[in-house]
Every structure is written in structure tokens, then in C-alpha cells.
Amino acid sequence: MKVLVAVKRVVDYKVQIRVKSDNSGVETQNVKMSVNPPDENAIEEAVKLKEQGLVNETVAVTIGDDKSQDVLRTSMAMGIDRSILVKTSISLEPLAVAKTLAKIIEKENPDLVLLGKQAIDDDSNQTGQILSALLNWPQGCFISELKIEDKKLFISREIDEGIEKLETSIPAVLTCDLRLNTPRFASLPNIMKAKKKPLDVIEIDTLGIDIESKIKVLNVVEPPKREAGIMVNDVKELVQKLKYEAKVI
């Protein structure tokens, strides 16, 4: 069995982001960039499946500019066998990302595709669902548990009401929640080894797909700031304030 993992390079989750002064977007120059957090869970799951002997090849794919090679090296340092950069200078909408991934999947023929449930920059939460529809494969979204028996997949997915369990079969597209597993740290020797693992670069134009934006960003602004509140001295004061000042209890 072969697993393909989609990883996105995003502003690190610890960075306090800044809106650009011309309101065209968010500053990403000279900002720490990392693997999108739930994509690390997808990588971890793929590597674990290989360690368990259920999978014999793992491939990571990212769509982005040259710098995105770093997230592929990180993926390979965590244990992914090889990777593919689909090169583009523009940032794509989820529909275009899914179409690009579908093309790669046509070539690579994986049995299982793992994505993060959501990119923490655009917060779209769409790509895996779109991809599964384009491929006409089953979809399992926001998963926090995966078991594979023969060609059957047993998943637990996190839903607003609690947990839903589904059975499906490969080939399938799954999107991972942060609770699926605990991603490993890449050790120094593995970081060195990853430098020698294969990383193919494909120009996006060669794939012959429509990646044009359907959405125009008019502006990006900072959210309204909350007015600073006060510190109260004790519980009595707090309850009095809530009762007679804020009038919420």
C-alpha cells in the first residue's frame, strides 16, 4: 500500500501575525514558516503505518514556491520516503490545490491520501473534501483514530456532537485532526538523511489544469480590538460587577 500526504507551508502557529500596511494581506516575509500543524499529524500517521508494515511507500506533496522545499525536507526527516514540489509562485485556492493534488494522484496511484483538516492560515477546511469528490473516493474528515484491516478502514471522526465512527475502504481521502497522534520530532541524523532523499520538482503549468483564482481579496484588516478591562481584587467584587455593572448574571 502507498500513502500520499499533502503538506502546506504556513506561518508558524506561534507567530503573532501582522496585517500588511497596504491591507493586501498578511506579512509572510521574514516570518517563521512551518509545516501546517495537522499536516504533521498526517505525516506521523503515514510513517507509523509504514513502521507497522501496512504501507510500503510514503510520499509527501506540497504546492508552493521554491521555499516550500523546507516543509518537504521536514516531512522526509520525520520519515517520509520521498517528496514532490509542485511549483507555483501564486497561492492557490482550495479547489485549485485539490485539482493539482488529483493530477499528482493520477500519476502516483496511492491507496490512501492524508491531509490536514485545515490550513491555519486560510482556515478553509475544504481541500480534502474537494479532493475526495474529484477522485470519487470515500472521504473521512477530522479523524482522530484510524485502523486498517485488509482493505478496510475504520475511522473515528470528531464532530460537533461528539465522535462518529465510519467504516470505508481504500482508496480513500482522510483529513487529520491534531488528536490523531503525536507527531515525532525529527532527530539530527534523520534531518541529515532527509537531505539525500528524492525531491522532485514539477512546474504547475505542465499539469494542464485550471488554477485561476475565483475569489478576489479586496482587503485584509486587523480585527476590532477589545477595550482593555479591569482586574478585580476578589470574588465578591467580581460577582458584584457582573451583577450590577455588566448585568450579565
Binding site: 477546511n125 475526495s132 470528531e158 475569489i215 478591562g229 467580581l238
Partner: protein, 317 residues
Amino acid sequence: MTVLVIAEHDNQNLKSSTLNTITAATKFNDEIHLIILGNNIDNLITNSQSLHKVSKILKCDHEKLENFIPEILAPVISNISNNYTHILAPASTFGKNLLPRLSALLDATQISDVIEIQSKNTFVRPIYAGNAISTVETNQQINLLTIRPTAFDKCEESGGNASIEDIQFLDTQTNTKFISREVSKSDRPDLTNARVVVSGGRGMENSENFKLLYELADKLNAAVGASRAAVDSGYIGNEYQIGQTGKMVAPELYIAVGISGAIQHLAGMKDSKVIVAINKDAEAPIFGIADYGLSTDLFQAIPEIIKELDLLNKIES
């Protein structure tokens, strides 16, 4: 121009997120249709006919629709989508699971988590965990939007008189089988609707201690929520998580107890009207957005608050 709203429900009742989404749909000043797909939904349909401003209900009642498998739902909706300029679903796990699939079938880019509708093709949505707000324009023939429920009021449930139209069930073959759903049962108000939310973080230390919060919540007729750290540590179920990768809430009163205030948590609660933070670390970032901060040990503070509330109640009665 007609707007289609996809109903979220449990085959018996509409979820309140559907009512928020209908209000969002009214911003287009056009006719609104509601599509309800499920199993044995006669009662649900009858009860939905009076929803304010909904002129037609599209009904598809089939046993294979019982568990809302998106592989089965999406083609049924896509089949009738030609009649609509906008299709809206709540930005709940139901809507997030389904609408992107429809977007693939219709080759349209979906706009996620809309918090404001400025015109028929201009929408506002948060990005980067709500640390930036983006206004976007599209000129697609069909616009797919997921609506953040907390950004729109619930629509009136009376005053309407919708007609009913049966639509065709398309039988999509899929290998996906529903096994079970573990739904937490609680007598407390629903987290996303509650007027007051009492939320606990890692500072609660264990699930046993969460009982303190349940007691406080019951005094305030509040829902209980949690940070991701509290859920990850097993203090409480995933359905209580508030934040970027959990639920969005905007109650009148949010009480954060033993929560540090990471941006991913703030993403889910900073639109609350009044925020209270209780944390023993006076430097905790949560105090930066709290209206009332109390820097003290929660295990001392919570029982005291419960006592004070009892006192207040006595005085009042």
C-alpha cells in the same frame, strides 16, 4: 435569484445553526428555499414550514440519507443547484464536511466561515484564527458559503408558510458505512447557543475537578466549554473544545478558568460580550482580552463564586 439553505438537523429537529444560516440568507433580499435531506423527516418538514421568510422546502426523505454521508448528500443537492445563485450551509462540522464536496461537483470555489454579507458577491471572513479579517469578492455563477452561526441571529420560527417540493433521491454507490455516533447527553444548554459559557483549561488538572465547573455552570444556567489542552488531557470530550479547531461561541458571558489565552483559543471566544478570566498567573495573555480579570487560584475562587451566587439568590428570593 433564489438562495438555497442546506438544513442541519438530526432527523427530528433543526439545529439552531440552520436558523442562523437562514438569517444570513435574508441579507440577499431574495427568495429563500430550504433543503432538508434525511430519513423519516415528515414531522421535521411540517415543523419547518413556518420558518420566517422561507418560501419553499425541498424535501428528500430516504433511509440512505439518515446519517448525512456527504458522498450521498452532495449529488442530490448538486442535481437541483442550477436554480440557485447562492447555496449556504452552517460552518459546523456538518457543513464543513458537505459543502466542499458540492463545490467540487459544481466547480465553484467555496467561501468558508462567512461572518458578514456585504452584497450578493462580497463577503467577509476571518483568517489566521481571526487575527485578520478578509473581504473577498467573487463573480461565480453559483456562490457557496459556509456561515459562521455566531455572526448571525437566529431567524424567527413563525410567520412563514413554506410550500413543500419533493426532490429526487440519486443513489450514489459508496463504500462508506456509518457505524455509530457517540453523542454526549447533557441537561445543560447547548454550547453554541448558551447565554453563559463556563470554560475550563489545563489549570483544572483533571476531569474530577471539572465537576466544580459543572456546579458553577448549573448556578448560572450555563454551558461548559474547554480549551484544547483540557480535551487533549482527557478532562472532557472533544465536543466541548472552543477555538480555531473547535467550536465558535459568542455568549453574553464567557468565564475562562485556568485557560492561558492562546490565540487559537481566543479565535473561538473573543466575540463574547463580557469575558471573565480567572487565572493564578497575572501575566496570562487571557487577561489582555478580559473585561474582568481575577488573578488567583481557581480552586479557591470557584467555590467562593458559587457561594456568592447562592447569597445573591437568597437576597433576591
